[in-house]
Symmetry: D2
């Protein structure tokens, strides 16, 4: 639907949870999800527990579209968990929305899940061979069935046992009648952090959601950790075997909000550092540095500051572009990108331009932007990318294109340069990225194929979804 | 919401299913459900199978509100089952809508269900103790889990085994990838019939749905029978122990459409015969016979014809009253009934009036109607009811009021007469009703407490729903 | 859209107005319009005045669809007028919805109008030649411009002067800041009556709206009368030249609600008398008399009572058919009528049937019904129509088909009989209709072309609308 | 509704028009309005003419909400004009949406209008005294009535005569059946420019709309000029007395899109120059310069570049904040600003911060932002405003707050500084603003009360609207 944004990978989910009987927990969850809206725009849901039963509301669309004041007012309780989701289109969308709520022998529980299991198909088959029926195609239903199998244990123990069985990437929030349990896969692939609001605790996928509700950042949930928040405060458990730590680097490159801090690294600053590294690796003699807004901005600033070249706004966004608009017909195809971005001739005309973007997936948008900038009279257009070429699929909850559609999987860098029409095309090196992130232990699998887990032989979107 | 219609019992579901690869099966199901709309107005759904997978669409509201031409066009396949449902209000409504579709080890199946199990709670507990999770509060999920337990058998055998385990009232349509199975509980409490369209077969709760799509009536599904329709035609199986046959008498008295024929008895004619019996049991010297439209009309005609007194329309309905309108405030409370029914003074003024209704549940509407007729200058108002007093709750899928709200459970007939303000109040006797129905083996439990099955000790709406 | 109901003429508007500062005037108007919903289902509107300014809300759809409790609560004031409208489709629908509200030199005024002017085009041209601009294509805008021209007179005098200028059929409600004026054309073509609620007065197109809100019927507005209701009560004025009195006979035959009394004649009784007259003119030896519901019912009763033949329900309506449903494709065309009406075989099989309908416009539905009844095994089907053949267009606010589509304009009666496939076809005579209505001075122009006013040479729907 | 954005003035309209029989004129207008969405988000409309008649579609909401592909496909013709509008809330909103279409003696015409007349009330009274009725409360209806008065002249002459009668600020697009006429008030207060697409011409409020549809910028419409586009190309006329030229300075400061060029000055560059001037007038020794996004960004860059201090993103926007979300309750009031903007601690902590915003209206948002930045550990916060203090109301189509709510009208600068809590508060001087705009002849009335026209004694929003 969206020519420009379609050319970026998609994050699949955002989570928020809070235990605070004396507060308006549904409203706080609403604002928390609002802050995490960039992690998923297709569906949103909030489940609340009043200590005895769990009630859930979910729907298709943005948080602000799904929840009316009336709906929110109906969600009273002591604690809440919420979920936003990106998903493929299809008629079964709503049934796949989260949180997913089930009744089981110990009562009710609700699950919100971000990430993808890599052995969900195998576990589904195993459960099916025991007579289990499934109503959705999402991993979350597998996880809830596993926990119910371990129902004779405490909820935390049942979750740890389930975490030993399941493989892949996940951040989980599981709400029972009287507590919320947050857990993160042993690799720490997907983010999850803890906040404090007065005496009470909350969870969020990113720290920006804590800022929004005025909560104080406490710490990240550790890889493999199981954290419970309830009437007595915060409790923690570990129980899964230790694994290679590998937080997703793409959260820093593109997904996470720049004002979030994940695993002790500020996202905006990490992006600026990518620009600094780019300046070291590929300094270009230019008149002006322009970002592809908004995610290219901090890297462009870092690059400009390092080289002492002016940073200006050469591409300007239409701030009113929504998720939907009527697509141009063939005759008006060229209009599509211009609806969202317009080149600012004044800044560009007669100049040597360095344009900085965070990544290239299929290359179609990049070529349109280079053309637009050249059309405004730029003398040279140098395209610098603040991450390495994306060559491999992600099995951990990121929807890049299929491997065959990744331009860097099909062409070498000079071919891509010619395809997009730039005078220079340079990608940040893996080493440069690691330096910018200040860490060697991040997941770079989409760049180099070095997956921290075994991955499924064949993998279809239908098999596994967050 | 609806002062007038709220004072009637509610039927809980209507079913339609068709196997016809060469026809527009979703459209035919749409029209079939349209004809059965009186059996449930809260939600509607259609599931289709193309021989390999099942797709379902469902939503809240009338059939015409849930299905757009686009939605219907998306439902392509070889066979379809559909469902309309009456239900209580609440946020979990949509998740309880049917057909319910599940994946299990043998593939997919969809279920549409009319009726109530009387041992659903026990079976749920049993399944829960084995680690099963439930996502709805409806009986149908229990039934599907049972069938999945018997997955090593053929679908028909799995259904028969399940029917031996479950107790209560049900008509079922179960669609697998390649067939539709229809089944009726051993008592025949809820109706289900078979139609033929060319070489192909279909199922419907009432014969009026067959008429609507131009299908020929074949026969009723027999109590305890399991009928399969597939590419090879029609197959039948019996396997449950024989039980006392007891079709629901309220289908004839109020629920079913008058143009339907259930178990070989035309509903309109059965109602006319109730009027004939009323005339024999309680002949009144009057000037005019008026029905409470529309369900009281055939009995009023039978009564009038038998006694030779003119039948006229003394109460007229607003044909545009929908399910929703803005309720009168306290100040305008008296408007509520007049929005729907208006007395026709010309017919009533100065006359001795016999007013015939099919049943009284709480008595509030009856008292308003008597007052309205008297207000138009009737000399006498005699209220005759074409069924016996409703004194007991139904456990088989009919939502009468709770027992304490049934006026006949709280007052004797003369007290009721004074409450409604009529000069005479007479209820048809059980004997008269049986004569009108031409049968001794009907379920009269709501009148006399003689339930054809064991019934649960305590029963809450939440426990069991169709 | 509606195969069955499309074959009936369409009434174009319904009016309601009330002056009652101490009451919930918007709610009362809502219920009044609810009772008049049969007079127009395409748009609805309510305007209120608080004594200083007029506020209006209107929208497309039924009264219950247009007005939410919130919208209604926003309409506070001392008096209100409301309007329901039938109209042709088209994008400009909403702008043509009423009441129409204007600012002029004396303040604000709102107009609700039922009927059609026959000289609207001429007046529009005259006003245009003086520089007037028009924003709608409805007569009402012409009327308001005329009243503004006479702004130096009192509102009542300005209305009388306007009534002398305009020709045709109209009932009008004009609300200024401090009063409501009701007026009826000098022929009395369109109905309007006065009610009393406590000390306050109201207007309605039909008396059934008075019953609904609990108001007492006072009297009809007289042809040519101008009635004001305000803080001081009820005032009346006459001022237009006297004309031939000719209330519309089709209000009795089909449009008006049977529980209404118009110009001192009860609609239901007038229809029953049409059946009595039919019995005198065309007695048939039959086994059963069946109506085409619902408008054919009283005539069928009158016919049956007069001849002593049983009246039964041989055709039954689906009470849940709404205004919209997905149309059958060509393959399923025959389903269309069966969705709305189903024949009751039990009543029809093996019998000689007299079927009574109120009118035939194009004949398509009649032929389908005869076929359906014969298909159920009727030995004979005699179709009797309780009005004369419709041969001429109406210029007074009724949308019959164009003259060429009127079957009685194209065929003689025996040809129509063969077209519909009946054994007998008989139309009530004009004399019989007059006897049933107890009056010689009704408008029968659609039957005999005797128009009470001069009519436009050429006439297109676009020129003039209520 | 919108705490943050509510504290900015509101532009009242955006216009687009195109004559191009061989192109998809409705789609091009849709994209043109999309580009102008920032000029009005409450309603949108498009009128097309096929050479014989004019059809219009309009509705409440964003362009993307009002127009579906179906609606757009229904708008076929040779030319189109479109309008987006900001307006006050209220039930009469839709009736005030534009384009406004009327029938008059010469045929039909449609008007789209940006700006406010200062003598609309007087003209309305004059027209009213001649019997004219009005259906809206917008100036546009007055203009159309005036043109109709001059109907005996050519359309262009009628427009010039009308322009001599009306006073105030306006850009107009008037579409007759066969041409579009664009006009701009003699002061040039509101912008309007001309573009060329192949051989055809178009009009737009800002040049960014021309870029979006791929049209070439031709020139601005001159103050007092009347430009016709039709089948023969472009024609121009002047006829109004010459007046003081005074384009609105606030278009540059805040309203217009930064990628637009108005009256030969690029908006982004003009804003950067305001920052350069600020640096000259008020250089501050700071560690980091941060903008209040997005409108403060170019000035912050100009300031930072001039002084050689790093520019960084210290406040980050939630890109998914829509026009509506559920407002925080009193308890969560502090959440309101954080939902939209979050401070980036990394950039701010321990630093001396200069924060640059374009204007202050009421001061409430500024104080929240200063507090937020201080809360992140800034050592100093200096607030610099890239325009002078707003002290006077605008009569020309900008909705600033009422004069009493303008903080600069109530407090001196040091009082404001204390109110917002900044260490320094500095406003750009009028001289500095003129230098940045490179012009002495701009309207600065909202800063200094020097209005280029006479202004109404008393003025209420109800009297005059664009």
């Amino acid at each position: 639907m969206d020519l420009l944004w379609d050319d970026k990978p998609k994050e699949e989910c955002g989570l928020f949870g809070i235990f605070a009987p004396e507060k308006e927990i549904a409203r706080l969850t609403y604002y928390g999800l609002y802050a995490l809206q960039h992690r998923g725009q297709e569906s949103a849901g909030i489940a609340v527990s009043d200590g005895r039963k769990i009630v859930v509301e979910k729907g298709m669309g943005l948080v602000s579209e799904v929840f009316s004041p009336d709906l929110l007012a109906g969600l009273q309780g002591k604690m809440a968990i919420g979920h936003v989701r990106y998903s493929t289109t299809g008629s079964s969308l709503l049934s796949n929305a989260q949180p997913l709520v089930v009744h089981f022998q110990n009562g009710m529980m609700a699950l919100a899940h971000n990430g993808n299991l890599t052995n969900a198909v195998e576990i589904r088959q195993e459960l099916g061979s025991q007579g289990t029926v499934f109503q959705t195609t999402i991993d979350s239903e597998v996880i809830l069935n596993m926990i119910a199998r371990y129902r004779r244990h405490s909820l935390e123990d049942a979750i740890i046992k389930t975490m030993i069985d399941i493989k892949g990437a996940y951040a989980l929030l599981i709400m029972a009648e009287d507590k919320i349990v947050g857990a993160r896969d042993p690799h720490g692939l997907r983010p999850l952090c803890i906040g404090r609001l007065g005496e009470r605790y909350c969870f969020a996928s990113e720290s920006c959601a804590l800022d929004t509700i005025g909560a104080e950042f406490v710490r990240d949930v550790k890889p493999g950790e199981v954290v419970t928040i309830d009437d007595a405060g915060l409790h923690t458990r570990f129980g899964t075997p230790q694994e290679r730590i590998a937080p997703c680097s793409f959260e820093y490159i593109y997904f996470a909000r720049p004002d979030s801090t994940l695993d002790n690294l500020n996202v905006w600053e990490s992006r600026r550092q990518m620009g600094v590294q780019l300046a070291k690796e590929c300094p270009i003699e230019a008149d002006v540095i322009i970002p592809v807004p908004d995610s290219g901005t901090p890297a462009a600033l870092g690059y400009a500051q390092t080289l002492g070249i002016p940073f200006e706004e050469g591409l300007l966004k239409n701030r009113y572009v929504g998720r939907t608009f009527i697509q141009p017909t063939q005759e008006l195809r060229e209009v599509a990108v211009r609806i969202k971005l317009n080149a600012n001739k004044q800044v560009i005309h007669g100049r040597r331009v360095v344009m900085i973007d965070d990544s290239i997936v299929r290359g179609t948008t990049s070529s349109k932007l280079v053309e637009m900038v050249k059309g405004c009279g730029a003398k040279e257009v140098h395209l610098l990318i603040s991450s390495p070429p994306v060559k491999y699929s992600c099995y951990y909850g990121i929807d890049t294109a299929e491997r065959e559609k990744l331009i860097a999987n099909q062409m070498n860098i000079d071919e891509i340069r010619r395809f997009v029409g730039a005078d220079t095309l340079y990608y940040l090196s893996e080493e440069g990225l690691k330096k910018a992130l200040g860490s060697d232990s991040v997941c770079l699998a989409c760049f180099n194929g070095d997956y921290p887990t075994t991955v499924p032989k064949k993998f279809s979107k239908e098999d596994m979804e967050c």
